[in-house]
Symmetry: C2
């Protein structure tokens, strides 16, 4: 019996599991502490009324013989795929057809699974810092080479540093990757690529026969008209890009589970269609997103639904502004918070984990250490606008009070 | 850009997609035909009242700030894992703890994904015929060697024929596999291994350091007291077996999506724990089953829920008996239908696909060609008890009328 030894190369546990353990241990020791969590990107507002209504209706249908739904179509119900094609793509001038949209139970699964379509020796490029799933799923597949604990890097991964030195804008790589993961707006930095900046990447990918794996989970938070909501707003993307979308952050579906991936049928390599390969994966290893959830997804696109979820996004963006402005007032250097629910602050002399511990100890506030997102995330720290407004205001007040200790000026 | 060429080795499309295409084409040509589908293993009864009630309650909670649930714990909510540990394991005398149970969105995903934990050159053994997901997911991972279209076999797969000659009971393999997929009660043959017969496999696996991947999706249909509901009823299974369970067939969750996998913490190889590896996979590539679904799963274990789902299982088993008895009366040789919703009939001179076409043409009934489940499935055909009672009775009447053509005696 031989196991997949690539799993053993993964250093430590999944970032958020590690944070949860630390927080639980702290709470055990300080039972009176009212901890405020601005770490994980989980939403806090309840589902919007029109979504709750759609869920109830779908549940009712599932309880009646004449309207019961068994196995869903592997790739998703037509009603949802068509609504997405119309609302998310046609209305933004993107040429994406309903049958190029694959419904799933969330962008994390899709981002993690997509690498299966590519050769074992495909070379990946990731922004640094980056959402850990992109790298970890490739580690498990044996694609990343050896880990160097000192630098926190994998020998076979091309890192694209995004730091305050380059305004968090990755430069085109010197070595040619096969797969390029781009998250726009970026998790964790909260920064963005404009349409013009993204065009460079699309052109690069088409020239070098690379595939862009484009994570647009945070598109609903974009306020700047120069930042694209979809990579397909950029000419040429249909021949080089796969796009991941989520209902988690725009409609609060983190606990509902629904997302989708766009694989245009124009994406072909070595005569093989990535579209057909992804369809085959869905058919073989997936059994469709639940009917109830897909009905809830449809409600997100109703007039009422659109209005309600826009209010939720505005609520979280107000939080992000509160954090961003509070941090700046307290003397921190920070990015993000404008087209993104994430604020990315610089921890100065402290390492990311030292800052984590000090923030937890001094302010009873939980955030996410930047180093957990990659080596260039060291000395940064992520806070999110997904808390309640009241908690966010209080957390910022506590941070201001503790700023001397946190900034090392006390 | 190099794709995963293993995908291209897969012959044709996923079995059930292929059937759907054929049926759609037939319906197009014969618009008046009222086709009865006894092919795919999808349920037809609506969700039971106690499950509908639990879903509505959970939806209500999701719509209130004080009871909203965001990201679920990766491995599942404690309330569901504890109910499963108690009801499915403790009550049957199995030593399985709640924290050894991993909640997911269904057994198909888990069965398809589990192979990731093992080395690329791990050798698999499968019953033949078998649920296609086991082999196909290993093809995609490059573990099965080359396909021989003439024999319908893969060069690096150990096939365990299950035919009428051996009473559908697989013999221990001559070559030693690393992974052994067992489905009990079997899909597609509807036959079973008794506790005593399964013990041979557990002992074999422990002796040969192999892992049994045990699919118990149909355990609710077992009526024979000698057939185990879980492999952990067999001594020694904790050191060699992973078990897959589903809510699809016992509670009609095919469109709801909920399942679980048991990975005991005593399963270690080369010093690595499969339990920890599976947990890591969940943490990295999965984001938890929806809260709503997990509440529905809990309702399956309530007193009311247990009674209601037992009635549904009885309803489908009555159908299976109707099919089994009708086929026998019509002169067919058939297996299954006693501890399983599946009836497996012999198509005599006709190939499985010839029988499929003839059954569709003469009786407007859809079933599943046995050859789609592996080479030893040739000349067999699967019918399922998951239709409505009325449709099942009518389908059997139609088959009886067409039996001359179907059996080749006319």
């Amino acid at each position: 019996m031989k196991i997949n030894e690539n799993y053993l190369k993964l250093p430590g546990s999944y970032l958020f599991s590690q944070i949860a353990e630390k927080v639980n241990a702290f709470q055990e020791e300080h039972r009176e502490a009212r901890i405020i969590r601005l770490g994980i990107g989980d939403v806090t507002l309840p589902l919007a009324p029109s979504i709750v209504k759609a869920l109830h209706q779908a549940v009712e249908e599932m309880g009646q013989g004449s309207t019961f739904h068994g196995y869903a179509p592997d790739l998703g119900y037509g009603f949802l795929r068509e609504a997405i094609a119309r609302e998310d793509y046609e209305k933004r001038g993107c040429q994406i057809r309903a049958d190029e949209i694959f419904i799933s139970d969330g962008a994390k699964c899709d981002c993690g699974n997509i690498q299966e379509l590519f050769a074992e020796d495909a070379r990946i490029a990731v922004c640094d810092p980056v959402y850990p799933v992109y790298v970890d799923s490739n580690v498990m597949a044996g694609r990343t080479g050896q880990y160097d604990p000192a630098s926190g890097t994998w020998s076979n991964v091309i890192y694209l540093p995004c730091t305050r030195e380059n305004g968090f804008i990755p430069a085109l790589p010197e070595e040619t990757p096969d797969l390029i993961y781009l998250c726009n707006p970026s998790n964790p930095t909260g920064t963005t690529l404009t349409r013009e900046q993204l065009k460079l990447w699309v052109d690069y990918a088409n020239t070098h026969q690379a595939v862009i794996l484009y994570d647009a989970a945070y598109e609903a938070y974009i306020s700047d008209p120069d930042v694209p909501h979809s990579i397909y707003e950029v000419e040429g993307a249909r021949t080089c890009a796969i796009e991941f979308r989520s209902f988690s952050k725009n409609a609060g579906f983190t606990g509902v589970r629904l997302g989708f991936t766009v694989v245009p049928d124009s994406l072909t390599f070595q005569g093989a269609s990535l579209h057909h390969m992804w369809a085959r994966r869905h058919g073989t290893k997936y059994n469709g997103a639940p009917y109830i959830q897909q009905r809830a997804g449809l409600a997100v696109y109703s007039e009422e639904g659109k209005r309600e979820v826009a209010e939720q996004v505005a609520y979280y963006m107000r939080n992000a502004r509160v954090i961003y402005q509070g941090l700046r007032e307290a003397g921190f250097e920070a990015a993000g918070g404008v087209n993104s629910p994430y604020v990315w602050l610089h921890t100065k002399e402290l390492t990311s984990w030292e800052f984590f511990d000090r923030l937890l100890a001094c302010a009873h506030v939980v955030g996410t250490p930047g180093s957990g997102f990659g080596p260039s995330g060291e000395h940064y720290f992520r806070l999110t606008g997904f808390g309640t407004y009241e908690n966010t205001v209080e957390a910022v007040e506590r941070i201001k009070k503790a700023s001397g200790q946190l900034l090392g000026t006390e």
